[in-house]
Symmetry: C2
Subunit: 320 residues, 2 copies
């Protein structure tokens, strides 16, 4: 049996293991992974917030090793992470990312990408444009999640717009909005992180020092206190987009929502095509977000390092 190295989560423990090379089901492609990106969701799963066992990881760039139709072999690709059934009432209404039967590599009922090889359905595969470096391409998935905001709501040019939280997703959301021509203020805690956004003309402010009010806020804090703070600085008829799942229940004053006619909008996965086109423009300083690249053989260390306070993006390189 051919085996491949993989970073596996088992009973809350991260292990480096030899696993069987994945079997390519009909309609799927075999991909040799180049880089994987560690996301906050991966870290939450290690903490046990999301129950999962198997190969970790969902952000990656790779090269198609085997395509039964031959078309994509040798091409660099990224992959949309929601593997939907295509057949239920939700899928038939076009809401494939919300399929109740969906599988998600490294998150739900499907092996992930922190391995030498991974398989994915053809419809989840997006070729990466030539101009996009490997390390940039790893950011396609979280950038798409940022673009989802623009799929869901219209932000008029006269709006005051703030991003709460200067973590990985916050920085990427700020980039997405700036590239959409939306003037954005980042309300964070780490001047050194917010500095990355300077070339895009995004002002960074320390959140607790902010005095004004905003029409539009994106909560990327990953903390129940983020919504609480957002409700304090949102204008009447304002919109708060919730970008991060919070494990805890939040005590919410629903009365404020009604009196001030606030909109709360939950936002999750987004479109890969526009994300790749954004990266193709070459203006996003995503590589500046990478703190360290670990080889897969040091994957356990990579996960530990990614969980440290203040660390931004950590990549895992599937060297052979």
């Amino acid at each position: 049996m051919i085996t491949v190295k993989a970073l596996v989560l088992e009973k809350g423990k991260v292990l480096l293991k030899e696993t069987p090379i994945p079997i390519v089901s009909p309609g799927e492609l075999l991909i040799r992974v180049i880089y994987g990106g560690i996301c906050s969701t991966d870290l939450e799963m290690v903490k046990g917030y999301v129950p999962f066992s198997g190969i970790m990881g969902h952000e990656f760039v790779g090269v198609v090793e085997k395509d039964p139709e031959g078309k994509l072999e040798g091409k660099r690709v990224v992959g949309e992470i929601n593997i939907s059934c295509g057949d239920c009432s939700v899928c038939r209404r076009g809401l494939k990312t919300h399929c109740p039967e969906r599988k998600v590599p490294g998150i739900k009922n499907r092996n992930g990408v922190f391995a030498e090889y991974v398989t994915l359905p053809r419809e989840n595969i997006f070729p990466v444009p030539e101009e996009v470096p490997d390390k940039d391409a790893v950011f396609t998935e979280p950038l798409a999640a940022g673009l989802e905001i623009l799929e869901q709501v219209h932000i008029p040019p006269s709006s005051s717009v703030g991003i709460l939280g200067d973590g990985k997703l916050g920085l990427l959301v700020a980039m997405v909005l700036a590239e959409a021509g939306i003037e954005t203020i980042m309300l964070g805690n780490h001047p050194e992180k917010m500095k990355i956004l300077k070339p895009l003309g995004i002002q960074g402010l320390i959140a607790k020092d902010f005095q004004g009010k905003m029409d539009f806020l994106v909560d990327c804090t990953g903390n129940p206190k983020g919504l609480e703070f957002a409700l304090k600085i949102i204008n009447p008829r304002g919109t708060i987009v919730l970008k991060t799942t919070v494990a805890e229940q939040t005590n919410l004053d629903v009365g404020v929502l009604v009196r001030e006619e606030i909109r709360l909008i939950g936002s999750r996965c987004g479109p890969f095509g526009p994300a790749l086109r954004l990266l193709q423009k070459g203006r996003l300083p995503v590589e500046k977000m990478i703190d360290k690249v670990f080889p897969l053989s040091r994957g356990i260390e990579a996960i530990e390092f990614a969980g440290k306070r203040g660390v931004k993006k950590v990549l895992v390189e599937m060297e052979r």
Copy 2:
């Protein structure tokens, strides 16, 4: 001193009192009130949920007694309840109903309409079309609140739409949506109330027996459990409009909002013009919602009666 009878809330007690006839400030009109309508907010204030002292009531129809410009004297009118400063940054952005300095008759820093006479700024006054009976006109304000939903969101014809709560506001919201051509199901608890909606083709179901899922829900339950239930029966990417302020804090699983990309939209006061045009069509069975009309002299009893379980609309008639 000329005095007029009024229903006054003082330290949580409802009193029938002789009060000075209101002074007409510049830019205001004096209105002789015909009918006042008792709203759930009035009852909440008696319970002390909203702090207020003074003449109660905000829903009314009356006749202009004195208009310094003469134009409206003798005309039947209703009145928009948000009396904004017109000068702050919120007002200047056109969000007058959200003016932080706003006064609201019978609710906030301004005497209400359960009195023989009331004054209101000219800009708050709307003449009532001839075809609209007095008792129908009292429903202008809550109907406008229902129309606010259509100001805020677009409901595509293919959506499944449900109203939660067959109280006064729930019934009116159902009427508004039906007249906008939106197929609506009422999820309530009282078949005898929901029956009122039959002529409009609105199906009434007992909420707890409902098995399906909805794309669009309007929570008119006035109860924190309403939102909890809504989150159970909302489709992915669905919209929940919150129509009633709830005094209690609600424990909300924000994670569900994000994972399912749910929109929560708070909704309060709405446009009077469209509400009057709706009434003018004469198709809304609003009079069927009136349980009883009390003379002002029995106003205390009227408030008590309106608070009884299952009672719909109660009017107060300002007989002289």
